[in-house]
Amino acid sequence: MQYQMNEFLFAMILTELEDAVGKENCSTRAIDKVTHSVDYYWLSRMWADRGCRMPEADIVVCPNDAEEVSKVLKIANYYKLPVTTWGAGGGTQGGAIPVAGGILLDTKRMNKIYEVNTDGMYIECGTGAIYKHIEWAANEVGKATMHYPSSLTCSTVGGFLAHRGIGVVSTKYGKIDDMVLQMEVVLPNGDIINTSPAPKHAAGPDLNQIFIGSEGTLGIITKAQIRIFDQPEERRFRGFLFQDMTGAFKASRELLQKFKPSVMRLYDEAETVSLIKKIVGVERKGAFMNVAYEGAKEMVEVEEKILLDTFKKYGAEDLGSEYGEKWWKEKITFFYPGHMMDIPQCFGTMDTIAPYGKIEEIYWAMKEAIETNFPQAKFIAHFSHWYEWGAMVYDRFIVDGKDVPKDPVEALRLHQAIWTCGVRTALAHGGVVNDHHGVGIKLGRLMKEQYGPAMQVFEGLKKTLDPNGIMNPFKLGL
């Protein structure tokens, strides 16, 4: 039933939500609405920079656990109110922005660490926990989570799960979807479910993987068992300079058939001369690559030998360990204001992934497409997550502030156009809509272009689980 919200009904709903989560955890204050309307998405930041207010939620709720989430979702379903889940707002795709108003559900009160289990090697926590906090909990018992995205300090466990995030040591330890054992999820109808107690099984499809990457459109993940690892006895770094990226790809593919380093980062020439020169101090032409390998000391010795032998075959110049160590120390520095692109620049990271044989082609095609269609844009990239079969390109466009329209709608148009061009080019050459930042509102329109009729699987899930369409509307193309 369609209806129009009115003051009376709003007041009624508010009391119900207050009853569900406690009055102090339910807000209609301007500061809470504004704070939850701007995430790390460039468009939301630009909008605010121009002095405009982004779409805001009508009510912000902060539940304490799955039971309270369940109550909120039942109320939302009854009144057919949109519910947008917000972790820490560190997402880059506008996924957490309540574009349709309604209820904004912030997960950060669900930040408890329930158990640090060194037998099963996991931490059970509320998904509102900032990832750094569970890293601290792991460190307290001499372990580590080995999930080190640049947003470790500013994104939640739930956010990383919802966007299928990734950290810098992923090549050895895996992506977030490899990091989780069991999860607790509240379905849109308020039912609380648990996924399988172990992630590897033959008891049907993997329920975890239905919710990981679903961006709050199919349910709210409230608890997760996140894997922890022994701290490596040794972590070593080695920097290399390849003459070009092709050699680096061949060398890396061969290396990955032999062992898995933890960090592998290959910078294109543009990034080698800009970022790397600025932060790491390398001032040479070519493609800089940084590799880290870690674990038991004896293994590290052997791996180092294999690495040096393999890369030598492909003409890589060994730059020693200094650059890599410096990069490791500075890896988060890149993201602070003053080091990072910032408004008034217009920018975006169009990460995509593909098997070897396609990934380099994608890089060149995207570079050409962006630079010819948008001559005002600079295109730089690095390749930072590697598998035996392929790699991810982290390519960025940057438009100087002077070339960005002052009018917010015109600036939005430019941003949209560059994104559409970049992602369509990636898709045309065998890539995907996104590697690890997710889809959000930013790329929803391109999901059908990637999936074609396969999209009906997602749509079917959505219709069944969320028949009223209340969960994070207009995200993920659903």
Partner: protein, 362 residues
């Protein structure tokens, strides 16, 4: 709102930056997105762009304890404490200070302390009287100890007596200005309090500052305000550490294992971290919480508990959780404000809170 160019620049950098999201003691305790440096900056930037009214963000501006954890964590050196305090001042000038803050400011102006107190408890009055004579050393107790934690003030005096120190305690202490600085920032009234206080302190050779908040004010903020302190101003902890070194304070191991709660004013602002540890180690076995020294997490205070008591309880509980995570059940404090705040939830959390003075006096 008219803001200094410097603050505007910091606001416009922080407003879209998430990097210190994990570090705010208030944000971590409440789980509220608004309790972050970036949210505060975003709010102020929208006020500067006339997209929201100053009065609509002021509650949040007063939810910051100005502990500087974000400033310390920021590799670029942006300073949310600076723009937060400046916004408090602007709000005061525009009469947009929240109603529940106004009485605290009025109290500061009328009585020198935010609590509006004029009398100290009888036992403390007696003890102070015994130290009324002018000596070279002044023990400056501060408003929190005098008016809100009389037992702690008594113990602070007792420890110095035990060491045979000759010292003065003032019957009426001037306000250090630190509470006004917190409430309205760099107003003329704040500076006037500081000048008045400095004048009194300068009558002594050495001033021992019991409260780390006052220590921060006298040793650091006064310089920023251009107020001169000629007296040798020392923190209570560094003074005690010297007494131990000189053999004037008897030490004895208690058999306890404890962790130490670094007051941020000492560890971050004054870079004093080891003196208190030397004292603690003279009486107990010292373990460390994960976030210690300059990384310390603020554990609450008395002033903010006047207007957000439930949040301060959450803050204290979270710090106790940090101690428990490393297996520690006893937390030693060096700040009367943190002592009071932690103590308020200690029983509920099944945890023991003792001050440095408790440790020394046994």
């Amino acid at each position: 709102m008219i803001m200094s160019e410097k603050s505007k620049q910091h606001v416009d950098s922080c407003r879209f930056c998430w990097m210190c999201h994990h570090i705010c003691p208030i944000g971590n305790a409440t789980g509220q997105e608004r309790n972050t440096a970036r949210a505060r900056a975003l709010g102020i930037s929208l006020v500067n762009r006339e997209a929201i009214d100053l009065s609509e963000i002021m509650d949040n501006i007063y939810e910051c304890c100005t502990c500087g954890a974000c400033v310390h964590d920021c590799v670029t050196g942006w300073d949310p404490v600076m723009f937060t305090k400046e916004t408090r001042l602007k709000a005061a000038l525009e009469d947009k200070t929240p109603d529940y803050i106004k009485p605290l400011i009025a109290n500061c102006l009328a009585t020198g302390n935010a609590y509006g107190k004029t009398e100290i408890c009888d036992r403390l009055a007696q003890s102070v009287k015994a130290h009324a004579d002018k000596k070279d050393i002044l023990l400056f107790l501060g408003a929190d100890a005098r008016f809100m934690a009389c037992e702690q003030a008594l113990k602070a005096i007792k420890v110095l007596e035990k060491a045979g120190v000759e010292f003065t305690v003032l019957e009426k202490e001037p306000a250090s200005g630190v509470q006004l600085d917190f409430l309205i920032g760099a107003a003329n009234e704040t500076k006037a309090q500081m000048e008045e206080c400095a004048e009194v302190l300068n009558k002594y050779k050495t001033v021992v500052l019991y409260d780390p908040n006052d220590a921060k004010a006298v040793k650091q903020l006064y310089k920023e305000y251009g107020v001169e302190v000629a007296a040798n101003a020392v923190t209570y902890t560094s003074f005690l550490a010297d007494l131990i070194k000189e053999g004037k304070l008897e030490t004895k191991q208690s058999g306890r294992t404890v962790v130490f709660q670094d007051p941020y004013q000492l560890s971050r602002d004054l870079e004093e971290t080891e003196e208190a540890r030397e004292i603690v180690k003279a009486y107990a076995k010292l373990d460390e919480m994960l976030l210690n020294r300059a990384e310390t997490v603020w554990a609450g205070n008395i002033l903010m508990a006047q207007y957000m008591p439930e949040v301060i309880k959450l803050v204290a509980k979270r710090r106790i959780f940090n101690a428990k995570s490393v297996g520690a059940n006893t937390i030693v404090t060096a700040s009367v404000a943190e002592y009071v705040s932690l103590k308020a939830v200690a029983e509920e959390e099944n945890s023991e809170i003792i001050s440095i003075e408790d440790l020394i006096l046994g």
